[in-house]
């Protein structure tokens, strides 16, 4: 094993004079983890935004994820497992995508000067993607760790208290902006990279996908800010009763 690795180090190929297949796997996995996270983020937004409909509906969605149809009153275990899986994919994606970052001042300087000189839209989009990706290392990790350690504290009041009284809202504003830009640009780039919709006129398809990207990030940002504002409002009203859970006839006591 070690000899094989040393052969590759010295010749860039293995003992059979074949190139490693790892770069192919890494490239594929980078895209696959990104795609999974992007899809997850779209559904995540749809679920958290249920608060805009009503507290009862948001509670019903939360309880469904707590598998309340199996466990009486719901359990935080399935939520914990889901968050743990997302966290692993998140870390894997960060690790894989990091390979593309400018990794020295020299690379960074050359990239920046060149991108500014050319003023090319898609190159600039990539820089936004890399920048927001870097921010997400921290913003995403804080949020994921918070949720991992509080899987049972999701609900109309529990979430609102977190947003408002626990002062998570400044982080959520940054997280929302970073995610929506990173995700929408990422999906557009994925379709270009793998040529998902290349049938017919590639240039026409690209123009359409670019529009779709703008619409997607726009819709998600508007929905995201509206949702965040709703949680803040509830959190402010609920400040005096911090820690108290929302309940209704279907779910008489909100699960801890």
């Amino acid at each position: 094993m070690q000899q094989e690795q040393i052969i590759e180090l010295l010749t860039q190929k293995d003992a059979k004079k074949k190139k490693s297949r790892i770069p192919a796997r890494l490239d594929y996995l980078q895209s696959a983890t990104g795609l999974l996270l992007a899809i997850f983020m779209i559904f995540h937004m749809l679920f958290v935004s249920t608060i805009l409909i009503s507290k009862d509906f948001m509670l019903a969605v939360t309880k469904a994820f707590e598998l309340s149809f199996i466990f009486e009153g719901g359990s935080s275990v399935p939520v914990f497992i889901s968050i743990a899986i997302v966290f692993v994919i998140f870390i894997a994606h960060a690790l894989l995508a990091m390979r593309k970052f400018p990794i020295s001042y020299r690379e960074y300087k050359r990239l920046k000067i060149h991108a500014n000189l050319m003023n090319h839209a898609d190159t600039k989009l990539w820089m936004i993607q890399a920048g927001t990706g870097f921010a997400l290392f921290f913003l995403g990790s804080i949020h994921l760790y918070t949720m991992l350690t509080n899987p049972g504290n999701i609900g109309p009041y529990a979430s609102s208290d977190r947003v408002y009284s626990d002062l998570m809202w400044p982080l959520y504003i940054l997280l929302l902006i970073a995610v929506e830009f990173h995700g929408a640009i990422g999906l557009y780039r994925l379709s270009m990279k793998w040529g998902w919709f290349d049938k017919g006129d590639g240039k026409e398809t690209r123009a359409k996908l670019k529009k779709a990207k703008i619409v997607l990030s726009g819709v998600m940002l508007v929905l995201g800010f509206a949702t965040l504002f709703a949680y803040m409002q509830i959190g402010q009203e609920h400040k005096a009763s911090y820690g108290e859970r929302y309940y209704n006839e279907t779910y008489p006591m909100e699960q801890k």
């Binding site: 074949k18 770069p23 192919a24 593309k100 050359r110 050319m118 780039r189 990279k193």
Partner: protein, 250 residues
């Protein structure tokens, strides 16, 4: 028609300013700087004509490359107001403020002023991706070539239109960051042979040429190549085609 008026336009033309990067790396006295040249614009003037104008009338020391003057040889590629383009295919009238800045293409060996050496790199690229038909079949040139589907031939010939001007590399921030990156010209060259049924190479063979981070997996899909290619080659779709192929290699 108003002939006199038309002639006046030719004679008077507006004054345009070309700001040109000047530097001779082989001359120790030379310092990199920008130099302004003011010339009278003529109808249909291309940057190539403007440069010849400067060379013959104002500054015999100015260096730039050209051969065909018709967008075929790829010699006159340069950075025009930030965008890599062919001087012979760029009209000065396009620049409404009459201000044009010209730089040599980045990422290539700089010779002098706007002149660069693309040939050495392109030759090395051709060798690296083995840019020729690989076939064990003995070809009898007295007989008709084995026919291929017209659609397939069109696809191959389309990629053969590449003039190796170097604009795809100069438009690629990945290449600017990482000098070993093969760039669109090299990646699409492999696509040209992968599509061509005359070439007997398998995907495994192509993987050995481009299956690493200097090759297909180094491309970050910034699409500078696609947006600046003066021949409008389908670079994005063909790079995606090779990526899909290469990622499936066992």
């Amino acid at each position: 028609m108003n002939r006199q008026h038309h002639q006046d336009e030719i004679i008077e033309g507006r004054e345009i300013t070309l700001t040109i990067f000047r530097y001779d790396p082989n001359n120790k006295e030379s310092k990199p700087h920008y130099q302004d040249y003011k010339i009278a614009e003529t109808p249909g003037m291309t940057l190539y004509i403007a440069l010849i104008n400067i060379l013959t009338r104002i500054d015999h020391d100015l260096s730039f490359d050209f051969v065909c003057r018709a967008g075929i040889c790829g010699s006159c590629a340069m950075v025009v107001n930030g965008k890599p383009r062919l001087a012979c295919k760029t009209l000065t009238s396009e620049f409404t403020d009459g201000k044009i800045t010209l730089l040599p293409l980045p990422t290539f060996q700089h010779i002098k002023d706007l002149s660069i050496d693309t040939g050495t790199w392109m030759n090395a690229m051709s060798v690296k991706v083995e840019s020729w038909i690989h076939s064990k079949e003995q070809v009898d040139i007295s007989k008709l070539e084995k026919p291929i589907e017209p659609e397939v031939a069109d696809e191959v010939f389309e990629l053969d239109r590449c003039i190796e001007c170097g604009i795809c590399l100069a438009s690629c921030s990945t290449r600017v960051m990482r000098e070993d990156f093969l760039g669109a010209v090299g990646l699409v060259r492999t696509a040209r042979f992968a599509i061509d049924p005359h070439d007997e190479r398998t995907d495994d063979d192509f993987y050995e040429l481009i299956g690493d981070d200097d090759g297909i997996f180094g491309c970050m899909s910034l699409l500078g190549c696609e947006d600046h290619c003066p021949k409008d080659l389908p670079l994005q779709t063909k790079i995606a085609y090779m990526r899909r192929k290469m990622v499936e290699v066992k």
